[in-house]
Amino acid sequence: MNKHKINEKPHYLNPYFGGVLLGLLVVVTFYITGRGLGASGSVKSTVVTTVNAIAPQHAENNPYFSKYIPKDKSPMNNWLVYESFGILIGGLLSGVIYGRIKKFRIEHGKHTTSSKRLIFAVLGGALFGFGSQFGRGCTSGAALVGSASFSFGGVIVMLGIFGTGYAVAYFFRKLWI
């Protein structure tokens, strides 16, 4: 397999190798911090910060946003925000090592256009963001770490996401194949 040139096929880790490392990372994270990984929490902090900066009075009155505004510090001063910042750096690092960093590009299936892909990306993102608030976390925070720590809710979210994914995959097949 080593014959492949970088441009032909991207080099990825063996998925099982990556999985074992990711699993160990979850264990180590629990070992050090007693909590799991997460990603959607940082977006929530960003939303809260933005709303708080533009209309502080409004944020204060909103029963949801006000929950996440700490009294003495910025909502951005949050574990998950730092961790997400780390995710960006880590992604960059891996991209540099494996030579996957290129100029901005849009990836889409061959039966769809770029603009369509972007519209669906925004829609999908909005749905994901909306759902992650009900689910108390996203695929990493709830599904991966939640089920790994034997949380009942985590397993529910994991089954829900993948189950629904398969159920609706047919309707969006034009996007991907």
Partner: protein, 211 residues
């Protein structure tokens, strides 16, 4: 098997490392030094059944014949021990009871069926140590009723155990005493107990609702 496969041995190495970590953990794992031999329920049954009490009249027998079937352990501090102790007793301060050497000694006594009697100034202060040893499986441990204080004041007539060394007994008829001191005592006490029962129920509901 997989298109992106580059070095299949990496996976093997990682999982082997993971397995190694576990083997390493297994080997270095500290086994708990002590395990509870009695369940909490067994412990309750033990104390309810008044097992493991060592009466002063038994002490008299021990002091007379020195066959070594009974070992007395003074769990007070060195200072109190130096000021006076039951003849033939060994001084091990309560905090040091679980130290390695002492446990070795305890195991020996346990094996050879020697009775080990703990005492402090009174029964209360030796109670905890005795209960602990019973719970971690030393069935040969006992607690001296009355403690050293009783021994010191009744050195000469240990045979005749007086009631004062026994604990857990009401010295007074509480209701009677309370009544004597104030005329309404009885009424209030019954009232309060009733009140309590009502309050307790409420609290239980609140607790279960909170979960």
């Amino acid at each position: 098997m997989h298109v992106h496969e580059r070095n299949p041995k990496r996976t093997l190495i990682t999982i082997l490392l993971f397995a190694l970590v576990i083997v390493f953990g297994w080997i270095t794992m500290k086994k708990p030094r002590f395990k509870y031999a009695l369940t909490p329920q067994q412990t309750v049954d033990m104390v309810i059944g008044h097992k493991g009490c060592f009466h002063p009249y038994e002490l008299a027998k021990v002091l007379n014949d020195k066959s070594g079937e009974v070992v007395l352990i003074d769990i007070r501090n060195n200072f109190d021990f130096a000021r006076g102790h039951i003849p033939g007793s060994i001084n091990i301060t309560a905090v040091k009871l679980l130290e390695k050497d002492n446990i070795k000694q305890m195991d020996q006594w346990k094996k050879s069926g020697v009775k080990v009697v703990f005492y402090h100034d009174d029964q209360l202060q030796a109670n905890g140590a005795w209960m602990l040893f019973r719970q971690i499986g030393y069935e040969n441990t006992f607690v001296l009723l009355g403690g050293y204080n009783y021994y010191a004041s009744h050195k000469d007539n240990l045979q005749k155990t007086e009631k004062t060394c026994l604990k857990g007994i009401a010295k007074y008829d509480f209701a009677e005493v309370a009544k004597k001191s104030g005329t309404v005592a009885n009424e209030t006490s019954t009232k309060t107990t009733k009140k309590v029962k009502v309050r307790r129920k409420k609290k239980e509901k609140a607790a279960s609702g909170g979960c």
